[in-house]
């Protein structure tokens, strides 16, 4: 950039020199900010990973390498159970949210009815409502209809707060959907059912998959709402981890967090691979 400016400019040398200095100063600032941001984002995570291999029982001093905490973590039945609960709730709620969100998006995109903008707005709301409000209201609601807290309430809550995210991603994909391919399918003898399964759904898949991954990660992550609506004995991983931390940050929790991190990275990579494969065609 600086070279281009000085080479192509016929202005006096001092002006060219000045602009070069300004450009490289700007570059320095930008580089620094970028580096600082990356450090800010990833150094803590890096520290967490390192300390999950630290021999010391507590504290932030390095005393030697060990995998003991990982062994302990896998032997901790409560923690494993909470992790399995999280996986179970995450998987089932994602499946339900994907079906609901996709159908909602199709209905909202394809049909026109009175007050559509209003209903559309309502579907965005859960995304911006503070989680604490969502948690309290869900708790009240379950109490109101006399539903005892437990797996069903946990599942229903997770479906409720993940569905709008699936809806939003699928709706975005639908916005630039070319409906003439559906007409082409009908023209070639496909009824509505075949058109949906052979044409519409495959073309919406990238949106559905990103929505599903988003829903799953949000569900796995969720602490506040889960904490409100879970029943006794229905700990999810974040809900289990929280009280442990009140005592002290144990290396075992570091190990569990590292495992969760690996899992998230796996999901992100999976979504990138799926998207790459989709965009090839």
């Amino acid at each position: 950039m600086a070279q281009l400016v000085s080479a192509s400019s016929s202005a006096p040398a001092n002006v060219a020199g000045e602009s070069r200095a300004r450009v490289s100063a700007g570059r320095l600032v930008l580089t620094t900010i970028t580096a600082a941001t990356f450090a800010f984002l990833y150094v803590p995570i890096f520290v967490l990973i390192i300390f999950s291999f630290n021999q010391a029982k507590s504290g932030a001093t390095w005393t030697g390498f060990t995998t003991e905490w990982y062994a302990k973590m896998f032997a901790n039945e409560d923690l494993i159970e909470a992790a399995l609960n999280s996986l179970l709730v995450g998987t089932i709620s994602t499946l339900v949210a994907v079906v609901l969100g996709t159908l909602l998006a199709l209905a909202m995109e394809r049909y026109s009815f009175k007050g559509k903008a209003f209903w559309d707005g309502l579907l965005y709301m859960p995304v911006i409502i503070p989680e604490i409000v969502a948690g309290v209201s869900l708790l009240l609601f379950f109490a109101f209809i006399g539903l005892e807290r437990g797996f069903p309430t946990l599942l229903a809550a997770h479906v409720a707060f993940t569905t709008p995210f699936v809806y939003l991603t699928v709706r975005a994909r639908l916005a630039d959907f070319d409906r003439s391919v559906e007409e082409a399918a009908m023209d070639l003898g496909a009824d509505e059912w075949h058109t949906f399964w052979r044409i519409t759904l495959p073309l919406l898949m990238p949106g559905v998959v990103s929505g599903a991954l988003l829903a799953f990660t949000l569900s796995m992550d969720d602490f506040i709402i889960s904490n409100f609506v879970k029943g006794v004995g229905w700990n999810t991983l974040p809900v289990y981890v929280w009280p442990q931390l009140k005592r002290a940050v144990s290396p075992e929790i570091n190990a569990a967090s590292t495992m969760l991190l690996l899992f998230s990275i796996f999901i992100v990579v999976l979504s990138l691979v799926l998207q790459r494969r989709q965009s090839r065609i």
């Binding site: 003439s180 391919v181 023209d187 070639l188 496909a190 065609i281």
Partner: protein, 365 residues
């Protein structure tokens, strides 16, 4: 009862809100015919096709496929296939899968599908592209896939919505010939939408000229060009000069029009009445310019004109003349070969312009 027509539109109207996109259109398309719908953008061509295909329901009127009312039979049950303006290929399927789709939906057996897909791709000369995705092909190739995907089903009628619109000039010319050959070879009725008059004239058995939702004239290319039934058709197809005047005499198939104190005679057009104002329409290539000395000024449709400009374009010379305050285009065929730059009239000179009565048309104003 087997009908004489592949497709019939009977007084069909299609309204979108208050706008009539198709306004009381009737037409009859014969089996194995190459039928063109020709008209400017927005005149209702696509809407007509969409009603035949079953994507739109007429607001009133009736459509018949081989004599049977189409009614509200859904698109997927009509033995009609469409080649879409935008191709509308399935982006997530290979070429072979695209072409096989219609056959799969009809429950054709796997071996037969494989054979017919291969045949269809041979027909459109794309046999080696079966495993490509639409994105990996050029516009012309995609257009052929769209064609193969429709043809493989052996429909009674094939609807083509400006299928050559996206192609460059040369490919377009090639595809016009190929399409025409294919249509004759397969014996399928083609309804072909275009807004390119040359394309319609060269390819079609018959043409329907449309304007703002109306079907103005249906006829062979010859009929449409030589005997347009209204000013719009005469103007839309080819080049024409229009001289405004008043009808002073009607005798048999001819009418006399008074244009700026000249009496000009042309063929009597539909609905022209004595005393009414009318257009005398005459095409630039249907008039002769001769030296005044050699002309007989009292002959029919012969008048003295001033040459306004002369442009040599190779095959002919394009002249603009002044006739009674009107500018007229005259195209004179260059049927002599000479290097003399003064072989022709020059601007400012006078000449005698004439045309036989059969070369002009008197049309309603």
């Amino acid at each position: 009862m087997k009908s004489d027509f592949a497709i019939e539109l009977v007084d069909v109207v299609k309204r979108f809100g208050t706008v009539a996109a198709v306004d009381h259109v009737s037409m009859q398309i014969r089996p194995r015919e190459f039928f063109a719908l020709l008209g400017p953008s927005g005149c209702g061509k696509t809407t007509c096709l969409r009603m035949i295909a079953g994507f739109e329901q007429p607001s009133s009127g009736q459509l018949l496929l081989q004599g049977k009312p189409l009614g509200d039979i859904p698109a997927f049950k009509r033995n009609v296939n469409t080649v879409f303006q935008s191709y509308a290929l399935f982006p997530h399927m290979t070429v072979a899968q695209n072409v096989a789709f219609g056959l799969e939906m009809k429950g054709v057996g796997r071996d037969e599908i494989r054979r017919r897909v291969a045949d269809a791709l041979d027909l459109v000369r794309l046999p080696q592209m079966a495993d490509r995705y639409p994105k990996q092909m050029s516009g012309g190739q995609q257009q052929r896939v769209a064609l193969a995907r429709a043809l493989v089903n052996k429909p009674e009628v094939l609807l083509l919505d400006e299928p050559l619109g996206a192609l460059d000039y040369k490919l377009r010319k090639e595809m016009q010939i190929e399409l025409k050959q294919m249509q004759q070879q397969l014996g399928i009725t083609f309804i072909f939408v275009t807004h390119d008059q040359e394309e319609a004239l060269t390819m079609s058995d018959r043409i329907c000229v449309m304007s703002t939702g109306h079907a103005l004239q249906v006829g062979t290319p010859l009929e449409i060009y030589e005997r347009p039934n209204c000013k719009f058709v005469a103007d839309f197809i080819g080049e024409t000069n229009f001289l405004p005047g008043v009808v002073t005499e009607i005798s048999g198939e001819y009418a006399t029009v008074n244009v700026a104190d000249m009496s000009l005679v042309g063929r009597l057009g539909e609905g022209v009445t004595l005393g009414a104002s009318a257009w005398l329409s005459v095409r630039p290539e249907k008039m002769q310019l001769v030296d005044e000395a050699r002309a007989n000024p009292s002959a029919l449709n012969t008048n003295s004109v001033t040459i306004d400009s002369v442009a040599y374009v190779g095959s002919d010379t394009r002249v603009v003349v002044h006739l009674g305050g009107q500018r007229l285009d005259v195209w004179d065929e260059n049927n002599i070969s000479t290097l003399d730059p003064n072989f022709y009239f020059r601007a400012g000179e006078r000449a005698s312009l004439s045309f036989p009565a059969d070369n002009a048309l008197v049309l309603v104003k």
